[in-house]
């Protein structure tokens, strides 16, 4: 037996060299072959939230279109910041995606010294869902129009409370924008999350509410909606005028999409973009979204990047102004 050992060893070595060469050869051809293994799709929020549900809605169609497994993983914390900080440190191999929310990824690095990431590092693939932000008052409120509300905000500055979700969040910046454009002054009362702020409003603990379109649609019979932040009339709420229609030049929205780490290969992004946009354009999914009170979007990588830059300029101008005023 012992005599055979060297021979067997040599054989094994020979085989492995041949196989190794063959593999090297394949790699050398630089054939673009993606995806070939499971893709991790991280949601930087808790399970059950809107970002989570959207990702789970996409999971099965994504698997069909990409031909590999897609695993959803929640990595919540810091209003998404922990998930995005992780994303920008990952290998750009296309197997690690993270849901991205605008304006979160713009406002967090602007508002915090050390958010853990920069807006430019979040590499967008697509935007697929929007929730325009609307302004509503109590059904028995004396204000029936946006004008009346603004006038009241000028007449009694800081005496009208406006509820919303979070500080330096989409709702907060919307109110800052409104105050900046009109000169009115309101007292912002933030809650931790959209659901608690809606609850606080329904209980009558605040005079007015900034809310996402899905919450507005859901609770529309318990509120007077004065304006909505979409560019055009929002289909599920056809009677609500936009801010622009009422001569206040602003839009306000929370938009959801997906991103990859910085410096990801263009071809990988294209492949993912195609899959996500196909799902976003699916008629059945679009109908579902509208039913739930969302605005279906279908913006590709380049368009998303432009949109983010545009919003970033706008928001940093507002924040600078507010911070200068408070000093």
């Amino acid at each position: 037996m012992k005599r055979f050992c060297p021979l067997v060893l040599v054989l094994i070595l020979a085989i492995s060299v041949v196989v190794g060469c063959a593999q090297n050869g394949e790699e050398g051809k630089d054939e673009f072959n993606y995806p070939t293994k499971t893709i991790k799709y991280v949601v930087p929020f808790n399970p059950g939230g809107q970002s989570d549900l959207e990702a789970r809605r996409q999971q099965k169609p994504l698997e069909e279109k990409l031909g590999v497994n897609v695993v959803i993983e929640n990595k919540p914390g810091g209003g998404g910041a922990v998930g995005w900080s992780e994303l920008v440190r990952k290998d750009p191999d296309g197997y690690y995606l993270t849901g991205m929310n605008i304006p979160h990824i713009i406002l967090q690095p602007l508002a915090r010294e050390n958010a853990g990431y920069e807006t430019d590092q979040v590499n967008p693939v697509a935007l697929f869902q929007g929730t325009p932000i609307g302004l509503a008052v109590q059904p028995d409120s004396p204000y029936n129009t946006l004008d009346e509300f603004i006038e009241a905000g000028k007449a009694k500055p800081g005496q009208i409370t406006v509820g919303g979700s979070g500080t330096y969040s989409g709702h907060h910046i919307t109110l800052m924008q409104l105050q900046d454009k009109t000169g009115a002054e309101f007292q912002y009362v933030p809650s931790q999350g959209a659901a608690p702020s809606v609850q606080s409003y329904l209980g009558g603990h605040v005079d007015a509410l900034l809310a996402n379109s899905n919450d507005l649609v859901q609770h529309q019979d318990k509120m007077k909606i004065l304006a909505i932040g979409s560019k055009e009339r929002f289909e599920p709420l056809p009677d609500v005028k936009t801010f622009m229609e009422q001569d206040i030049d602003m839009t306000a929205s929370i938009d959801r999409g997906v991103a990859v780490p910085p410096e990801t290969d263009k071809r990988i992004i294209e492949k993912l973009e195609k899959a996500f946009l196909e799902i976003a354009k699916d008629e059945e999914i679009r109908a579902q979204m509208k039913e739930e009170g969302f605005l279906p979007l279908a913006m590709g990588a380049e368009e998303s990047k432009q949109y983010i830059n545009e919003m970033k300029d706008k928001y940093s101008a507002i924040l600078e102004k507010v911070q200068a005023e408070s000093k």
Partner: protein
């Protein structure tokens, strides 16, 4: 409506629906029993399937998981002193001492029976009393949340067991720990030491695992080496029957716990953990022998478990009638309802009466199914504790690592868990109970939110006094705080003689 009721019952009786619900309950129990895996996660896993499912089986399955997981949390609480879900914190107080006495089955059967009773009561409350209770829930504004959390902090008096000073220090540490991360209102970074991972703050579950489980595992190992008697369980006959007839004789305990649980559940944001703790506190307060608690009293287990399962029904009250999810798992149910095109609110009962009532009735049935499963499983589950320490300890540690990672998929959480485990081991030796620390951690954010929001309201209204001290519900809560904080004095004066008698009898 009667037509809806009949439709509901026949829906539930359908074999496939019933089976999906029962599987949901079983799955929920397993997930709940594993520390770090929560009801919310288990339900989120099912969500993609519900896209293609009919509304009835989808909702029944999700409801089953919710019910099962909240019960399942007690298993780890009783066997290894680790709340499987935060709801089971108070279950550890007497459940684990029972296990130490070799009475794991006693504790598990108590938990099974009281969970089922509490769960059914909670579901009945949801079925019959939703609209009036939901309007009470809405009355809870920022000042009420503030006072509610102050009331919660008075429980420290009960949890401190022995040294009030150590209890208060523990509570203070808990409150401080809750400050780590981004300020909930204001957005400043606090105590993150430049680590982006700490922006998220400490996860309650991670701290729970660290503080409750690791010290226990360490002392398990310690005992093995010092050759002391180790924990074991010997099957006895007639335990189940004895426990149940014992519990049936205490209808007030079960009813009070369930009512507390359902009521806490109705207040959005106050979850099963607070329900269990408040109910445990009341059980101690109203007991004739308060000194027996914390040493293995089945009443303690019953109080916690009846309350946290009643909380399930309660937490769905604001969801079904107002569309406000009262707890994280309820948020997933909201998503599932919306996907089916069903918008919560009064129209849910009118337009989708058959589906809605099917779901509500199925919660009652799910609680009974859970009770039966838990009841028959108790004896087998209890045997787990008989594994030799050399197997059990590594297994438990393995689970704690997996669990603390799984909660947010963050490796920093594992490090934090181990760190708190070691700290917990030392503080336990120094006579600190983890209860007050965890209580501070749970209530800190609620108190802070309530305080800051109330102050903003006060600033806008021009009077802080008006906001904090003149609202009717706030006044009630302030009175409750005063009574609760003063209770040790009151009971000392009142119960001097009976207490001595109890001691003499014991």
């Amino acid at each position: 409506m009667p037509a809806d009721f009949i439709a509901a019952l026949s829906n539930i009786a359908q074999p496939t629906n019933f089976l999906i619900m029962a599987i949901g309950v079983g799955f929920g129990i397993i997930v709940g029993a594993l520390p770090g895996l929560t009801a919310t996660m288990a339900m989120a896993l099912l969500v993609p399937f519900t896209f293609t499912m009919d509304a009835v089986p989808a909702l029944m399955g999700l409801g089953g998981i919710y019910v099962g997981a909240i019960y399942g949390g007690c298993i780890a609480a009783i066997l290894v002193n680790t709340p499987g879900t935060p709801s089971a914190i108070a279950t550890t107080f007497d459940g684990f001492p029972l296990t130490k006495k070799g009475k794991a089955e006693h504790a598990l059967v108590t938990a099974a029976f009281s969970s089922a009773v509490g769960g059914v009561i909670g579901a009945v409350v949801l079925l019959l009393l939703s609209p009036p209770l939901a309007s009470i829930a809405l009355k809870f504004g920022p000042p009420e949340y503030f006072w509610l959390s102050i009331f919660g902090l008075t429980i420290i008096a009960t949890l401190a067991s022995g040294s009030m000073l150590k209890g208060l220090i523990g509570g203070g540490i808990g409150l401080l720990l809750s400050q780590i991360g981004i300020a909930p209102l204001g957005g400043e970074m606090r105590f993150t030491f430049g680590l982006y991972q700490l922006q998220a703050g400490l996860s309650l579950i991670v701290v729970l695992i660290g503080f409750f489980c690791i010290p226990e595992v360490l002392s398990m190992i310690e005992k093995k080496f010092s050759q002391h008697d180790s924990i074991n369980y010997k099957p006895q006959k007639g335990v189940a029957k004895g426990i149940i007839s014992d519990l049936i004789k205490k209808p007030i305990l079960l009813l009070r716990s369930a009512v507390i649980g359902a009521f806490v559940g109705i207040v959005p944001g106050a979850g099963g953990n607070i329900a269990g703790l408040v109910s445990y506190n009341e059980a101690v307060r109203w007991s004739k022998k308060p000194k027996e608690f914390g040493k293995g009293n089945i009443d303690g287990v019953a109080a916690s478990e009846a309350a946290n399962n009643a909380e399930v029904g309660g937490s769905l009250v604001p969801l079904m009638t107002l569309g406000i999810p009262g707890a994280a798992p309820a948020a997933i149910l909201l998503g599932a309802l919306m996907l089916q095109g069903m918008r919560p609110g009064p129209e849910l009962y009118i337009n989708y009466g058959d589906i809605t009532y099917t779901f509500l009735f199925s919660l009652i049935v799910a609680n009974i199914v859970m009770g039966v499963m838990a009841f028959y499983g108790a004896r087998h589950v209890a045997k787990l504790i008989n594994l030799p320490v050399s197997y059990l300890a590594p297994m438990v540690v393995f689970m704690t690592v997996i669990g603390s990672y799984a909660i947010r998929n963050n490796i920093v959480d594992v490090i934090i868990m181990i760190l708190f485990g070691l700290v917990g081991y030392v503080t336990k030796k120094a006579g600190f109970h983890p209860g007050p620390i965890v209580l501070g951690l749970i209530l800190g954010p609620i108190a802070e939110n309530g305080l800051v929001q109330s102050m903003l309201m006060g600033k806008s209204a021009g009077s802080m006094f008006e906001v904090f001290f003149t609202r009717p519900l706030s006044i009630i809560l302030i009175l409750l705080c005063l009574v609760s904080a003063g209770w040790p004095l009151i009971s000392n004066l009142r119960n001097k003689t009976p207490d001595k008698e109890a001691d003499a009898n014991a």
